[in-house]
Each structure stands twice: as structure tokens, then as C-alpha cells.
Symmetry: C2
Subunit: 109 residues, 2 copies
């Protein structure tokens, strides 16, 4: 069944929303710490442009990943799980087959 046909109850949508917010907050916190650390060690103009490129790439990635798109929800949750920004207990309350599918997808990515 393609992900586009997956139905999400209102409650499940709320659970996914909270999971997204948690993952986003965790990812941003790590990013902030990383940038503060990188920036403190900057000594040359090339380091600045590297930081600039890094920020542009991360911004593009974050904007895309956390865009509110129901069609890709399963895949994004799987990606967040794979990358450690979500744990399985963040998905508690979703239908069992969804969690299984997300978990499976996360190991295929």
C-alpha cells in the first residue's frame, strides 16, 4: 500500500505532530551546540564560508524534512527514527501496523 493511501486518525495526527516537534527540538538543540562549537574555532575566512555552506545545507534539509506534508509522514517519521531524533516510544498511540511499518522503513533507509 503506498504511503499516500495511509489514513491517519485525528489522534494519530496529533501524536505525529508532537513527535515532529520533539524531533525538531532535539535536532535543533544539537545543531545549535555544534554551530557554537564550530564558530568558536573559526580562524580563517574559508572556515566562515564552510560554516555558511553547512548552515545553508542544514536549513534546506530541516525545512524540507519538517514540512507539514501528510503524504510523506511515514517516511519522515522513519528517517527521524533512523537518525535517532525519535525513539519508538515517541510514536506511542499510533496504530500498531503504522509503528511496524515506520520501524521497518527506518531500517531500510
Amino acid at each position: 500500500m503506498p504511503a499516500t493511501e495511509v489514513q491517519w486518525s485525528f489522534q494519530e495526527q496529533q501524536i505525529a505532530k508532537v513527535a515532529f516537534e520533539r524531533a525538531h527540538a532535539r535536532e535543533v538543540e544539537e545543531l545549535l551546540a555544534f554551530v557554537r562549537q564550530q564558530a568558536a574555532a573559526i580562524n580563517a575566512v574559508e572556515d566562515l564560508w564552510k560554516l555558511n555552506d553547512f548552515l545553508s545545507a542544514r536549513r534546506h534539509n530541516l525545512d524540507g524534512k519538517y514540512a507539514d506534508c501528510p503524504n510523506t509522514l511515514m517516511f519522515v517519521l522513519a528517517e527521524l527514527l533512523r537518525d535517532g531524533w525519535l525513539q519508538l516510544n515517541d510514536l506511542e498511540g499510533l496504530a500498531k501496523e503504522k509503528v511496524t511499518k515506520i520501524s521497518l522503513l527506518s531500517r531500510m533507509g
Copy 2:
């Protein structure tokens, strides 16, 4: 006389080159210190994207300003003088009328 018709002797070109390098080094040093200071105070994702935009703009500005273009040399030297990245003594050795023109331009910018 348009700036494009200004003639630069080999010696003057060398003096301009050294002045450019000095100005660039001074400007970069201040930029590095500013970014280190800004980055240390970053607390939210919006601060990151502001830093990203700031770096993109400064990069564009620096790349353009220090591009090796003889036709705009007078104007760039005037801009660097106006912004304090060069002092008049950095231009020592250039023909007097050039220094006068650059100095005049710097007060018109």
C-alpha cells in the same frame, strides 16, 4: 575622466594589490571576531538562519569587492577608505592625483 581610462603603472598596481590584501585581512579579522561573538550567543534556530543570511551577504559582498577588476580599482579603494579598511598611508606611492581622486570619491560614497 572615467575610471576605466585611468592608467596604473606596474608599481602602482603592486601598491594597490598590497593595499587590497591589507584591507581584506583587516575586514576578515573583524568579521571573524564578530561571527565568533554572534555564534556564541545563538540560542534559537532563527538565530542560526540569521547568521546564515548574514554570512551569505558578507560573502557576496567580499567576493565582489575584492575581485581583481582594474576598471573599478579607484572605486573599490575609495570604498575601502570610506569604510576604514584602508588609511591614506596604505596608498603611499600612488600618483598624487590618484590619491586625491580616491580620497574625494571616498567622501562622496
